[in-house]
């Protein structure tokens, strides 16, 4: 691995789902990178392509989806060029992923002990005693009450929070260098969610790992992340250090997102993002230009015929928009 290069570099990634009505462009030539020992946040409304992006990194895009272009460079290897056999040894061992629905992500007919042992043995030859010792220790570290008893339980006998702990234990068992967490707190109540985030932060510190954190919650981004990417309809429209993006958002969509977060009406069941007026364009036959044009208050004639340029407004801060509009937004 190059000494100072990013841990993960995604360039021009393009993922299409082949459907009866044509190909659905779920992810369209996106770019971002994640440094080592960094927490990178990915926000965007439902259907903007966050999960598909995450699954692309692991090479697990569900059919009929397919990566049709771009590169995913992890360390010094381009994952897209590696054979499945090699990618498999990276999954779980070097890149782990925790999913949104913890209970559904556990095998319903096997005990926790069996599932943890599967995870521990996926990449290492361990004896039974060692597997058991490590399983108990991992569960205890995650704050599982009575870990010994939990080992004998089936997923349906555990609460959502306990299922989440089991899944996190499985995914962290090989101490991956990159952990992808796809809305890890959505299924949990607030306290358990906060505990989980705290644990992820600690894991990152102790093992110098990086995290790709997908969430709807701008508060979580502010609290957890070093850098953030904002996704809209398959495009990463703005990416940069959290401080810069929050203080000085340059893309009209990011701006709307932050505005709506500030006007927070805590009792509203809608997430921050869903309060932005208008709807996401149809990804089946997306307009050739900016996919935010129909909702954008600053739309220009130049926005519609072609994808807007990707401009670097500050070091490491990129925006996908017209230069004149970006300049207008510049902080005084």
């Amino acid at each position: 691995m190059s000494a100072n290069g990013p841990l993960l570099q995604v360039s021009d990634l393009q993922v299409h789902f082949r459907t009866r009505d044509g190909s659905l462009e779920a992810v369209d030539r996106i770019n971002f990178e994640i440094g080592s020992n960094e927490v990178f946040g990915l926000v965007g409304e439902s259907g903007s392509g966050k999960s598909v992006t995450a699954l692309s990194i692991l090479g697990l895009v569900p059919s009929p989806g397919r990566i049709v272009g771009g590169d995913i460079v992890f360390g010094d290897r381009n994952l897209r060029e590696l054979p499945e056999r090699v990618v498999r040894t990276i999954r779980g061992r070097e890149i782990g992923m925790i999913f949104q629905n913890p209970r559904a992500s556990l095998d319903p007919v096997r005990t926790v002990a069996v599932q943890l042992s599967r995870a521990l043995r996926a990449h290492h030859d361990l004896g039974r005693g060692e597997v058991r010792r490590r399983s108990v220790r991992m569960l205890r570290d995650l704050g599982m009450p009575d870990p010994e008893a939990a080992l004998t339980k089936y997923p349906h006998q555990l609460s959502g929070g306990m299922c989440q702990r089991v899944m996190v234990a499985m995914m962290l068992s090989s101490r991956p260098r990159l952990l992808i967490a796809d809305e890890p707190t959505t299924a949990l109540d607030e306290t358990v969610g906060a505990q989980l985030l705290e644990h992820l932060r600690r894991f990152k510190e102790e093992h110098a790992a990086s995290i790709l954190l997908i969430t709807h919650d701008m508060g979580v981004i502010a609290e957890m992340c070093d850098r953030v990417g904002v996704m809209h309809a398959g495009h990463v429209v703005e990416v940069g250090p959290v401080g810069a993006v929050f203080r000085d958002p340059r893309h009209p969509y990011t701006r709307a997102l932050l505005d709506s977060t500030l006007r927070i009406d805590r009792d509203s069941p809608l997430s921050d993002i869903e309060r932005i007026p208008g709807t996401v364009p149809n990804l089946l036959h997306p307009p050739p230009g900016c996919r935010f044009a129909d909702r954008c208050a600053y739309v220009l004639p130049a926005c519609r015929p072609a994808k807007p340029p990707r401009l670097e407004v500050a070091p490491g801060h990129h925006v996908l928009c017209q230069e004149t509009v970006i300049r207008e937004f510049a902080a005084p």
Partner: protein, 338 residues
């Protein structure tokens, strides 16, 4: 609910079901067309003679009285006599039952092994060659009657290709039956290392087993395919893949293991049709099991065997259902605690 309480409830239910079956079996003789007494004496017997015979057979008593007598006999192992074979029905039954078991087991084994493999292959490569084969089999299984498939196979492999023996029984006439242990020729000849009998019994078994097996093959394939597709698309398979588990482990130990749960209940359901199909297959292949016995008894209006077979097959069926339920219980931890 604990395992023991569940089992207790199921057993209580079984007793009720068996009681119901015995009533049906008993009443059957009274609703079937034809008079048992007259059918024994023939059409030329006088009415007085028939009345005498009825009294002798206890048919003039009240129904509850007759039922009690009947069940008393059953519990003593006396199922009445067949006037066609002149043997006690119980003897005839014990003699023929292994043949049917052998046929049904072979058919089931074939259907399960082929159906599950084909279903898995079809699910792994949707719209691939195995998927099309599975669809084709599904159409065949639904639309083609068993006896027609049987006859077709006989024409192809016996009359045309001459690779299999004529459909006349379970063994070539010049081969001696293996020493009886289980009554299943294939098993017995294996156990006694009687290779000649093994070869012959296998040759005779192939076509009837395939014919009978086609019936449950299609639904088992379809169910396996659907359950496998669901399992392969599930969150837990995706998570297992994200862990870097090997493909074999993910497909067999996780996806297939979960997919088998609905497949097992489907197999249980198919056992019923298998019994019905066995009667037809035994007729087509002159396979001397209880299906053929039942058929000949019905044709000859031989009431005692018909009545006993309804009772025995009914009870057997209830027992099989119980066994399938217990199996279901064993493979799905989620129904252990409610």
């Amino acid at each position: 609910m604990t395992r023991r309480r569940y089992l207790g409830r199921r057993l209580a239910l079984l007793v009720l079901v068996v009681f119901g079956i015995s009533i049906v079996a008993f009443l059957l003789v009274h609703v079937l067309p034809g008079d048992p007494a007259r059918s024994r004496l023939g059409v030329f017997a006088t009415e007085e003679l028939v009345q005498l015979k009825r009294a002798e057979m206890g048919l003039d008593k009240s129904l509850p009285e007759q039922y009690v007598t009947y069940m008393g006999n059953v519990f003593r192992g006396d199922l009445g006599d067949s006037w066609r074979t002149h043997n006690p029905v119980a003897e005839d039954f014990v003699e023929r039952f292994p043949a049917t078991i052998e046929l049904a087991l072979a058919a089931l084994l074939l259907a399960v092994v082929l159906g599950v493999s084909l279903g898995v292959a079809a699910a792994l490569r949707r719209n691939g060659p195995f998927d099309h084969l599975a669809t084709l089999l599904g159409i065949l299984g639904i639309s083609a009657p068993v006896f027609w498939i049987g006859l077709l196979l006989i024409i192809a492999f016996v009359t045309q290709l001459h690779v299999l023996p004529a459909p006349l029984g379970r063994l070539a006439s010049d081969v001696e039956a293996p020493t009886q242990i289980t009554g299943l020729y294939v098993v017995d000849s294996l156990l006694t290392a009687n290779w000649e009998a093994l070869r012959s019994s296998l040759l005779y078994l192939v076509l009837p087993a395939v014919t009978l097996g086609i019936l449950p093959l299609a639904p088992i394939t379809r169910m396996t395919r659907a359950a496998m597709i669901e399992a392969l698309d599930s969150d837990f398979v995706r998570a297992a893949r994200a862990l870097g588990l090997s493909r074999t482990q993910v497909v067999v130990k996780i996806a297939l293991r979960n997919a088998l749960i609905p497949v097992v209940s489907m197999v249980g359901l198919q056992l019923g049709y298998l019994v019905g199909g066995a009667v037809l297959v035994e007729i087509v292949f002159t396979w001397s099991g209880i299906g053929l016995y039942l058929y000949r008894s019905v044709i000859g209006l031989d009431f005692a065997p018909i009545q006993s077979l309804v009772l025995i097959v009914g009870v057997l069926f209830a027992l099989i259902n119980l066994a399938v339920d217990m199996l279901y219980f064993a493979i799905d931890p989620r129904i252990r605690v409610r």
